[in-house]
Amino acid sequence: MRFSEEFRDAELGRGLAGEIHALAERAGAELGRPFKLMEVCGGHTHTIYRYAIESLLPGGVELVHGPGCPVCVLPMGRVDDAIAIAQRPEVILACFGDMMRVPGSRGSLLEAKARGADVRMVYSPLDALRIATRNPDREVVFFAIGFETTAPSTALTLRRAKAEGAANFSCMCNHVTIEPPLRALLDSPELELDGFVGPGHVATIVGLRPFRFIPADYAKPIVISGFEPLDVLQSIQMLLSQLVDGRCEVENQYRRVVPEEGNPRALQAMAEVFELRPHFEWRGLGTIPHSALRLSDAYAELDAERRFPVPGVRVADPQACQCGEVLKGVIKPWECRVFGTACTPERPIGTCMVSPEGACAAYYSYGRHARGDGTEPATAATSEAEATTATPQVLA
């Protein structure tokens, strides 16, 4: 299948790694510390661990895992709101699989399901609408989550639901946008970053323009990247080339998919169905203005938050959890005090441990093999941990 196999070639990977080593050597002496590059997207984090990309990099290049997993940035209060809706006897709440395990202040949606709530896992909003069609005597609520990659699918389904007159279908919208959290990260005084590996599929929708503020306002380079191992390696090589040349630009490594202007049809659908929320709470980053979407007035009748009462209570993150520092790249996952002991993929405390794209879960599954320094994270060695640890794949 195109888009994937061609970008896993080991020989090409070794060639790129060699170029990265040479570039890091040329530029690193001046910097006096490792280059810190943040991969914004959880999908990249997963590729980096799965293919042991870090083991190919020189010590002078450090990857920082960013806030790009939409599950990981969802605050507990939103889970509580969803559970409040799901517990209504007439409601079927449909959501993506990872979302079911995200802990709220009184348990997860999966635990609510165990207590009798009708919570169902779907792979798309279209699946949720299909459940509504099959169950005309029930209220079906789709729990929408994701960045601009996922928002078009929700928008299309809401358009379809409106056109079909699906009166028993509604949406609890938790879609978020990429630009405000990146600005919040760049404004964070504790952050020391030299460049960004940018989110390829978000850019497929929004194009390159929303990323131009990064070089313009913060003088940092960003390379929009694909998701195969060679994509990520080439993006790191392009970032280092910019740093060596003294350039600072938005570059597009993923040109085979990402058009400069994005996808105008998707942007039009989103503009019709959604509007910006005045503010939205992000786990670890706090409340960020205009960083999330809600249904527009034209789609108010399909808005679950207007159809059903929701508590809307703000819940503080668990004190033991350091997801916020992980999301900002201040600490590595294994440096969190509960990583691998109290917090595991089986029983996550923090959201970074829930989704496979979460930095902690990805590191838990693959990362101990990728560190290459022979040391185990001090808190990670439990028998359960060993039983569920995966081995990274070698480039084919």
Partner: protein
């Protein structure tokens, strides 16, 4: 579903209602910024849908509302049930 080409492939099988656990493991397509390449078998222009198959021969009905001129044999990048990008056959 009205096929645009002959011979018409069989309609996509009904999807089961899923239990927790992600068949896209180890990465969850719906939650990450990840899209899956799928080949188009059949197009229903009237409803903006296409029957597609992935590299593991799993069929899925995909919303093609934001990509243009989809035809059988094309490759689509699919995320959360919607095509984000079309690569012509």
């Amino acid at each position: 579903m009205t096929p645009r080409s002959e011979p018409a492939p069989a309609a996509a099988p009904e999807r089961r209602e899923h239990e927790p656990g992600c068949e896209h493991e180890p990465g969850c397509i719906t939650c990450g910024d990840v899209a899956r390449p799928m080949r188009v078998l059949e197009v229903d222009e009237a409803h903006g849908l296409a029957v597609c198959v992935d590299e593991r021969e799993r069929r899925e009905i995909v919303d093609i509302g934001v990509v243009e001129a989809v035809a059988p044999g094309d490759t689509l990048l699919v995320h959360a049930g919607a095509a984000l990008h079309r690569e012509p056959a």
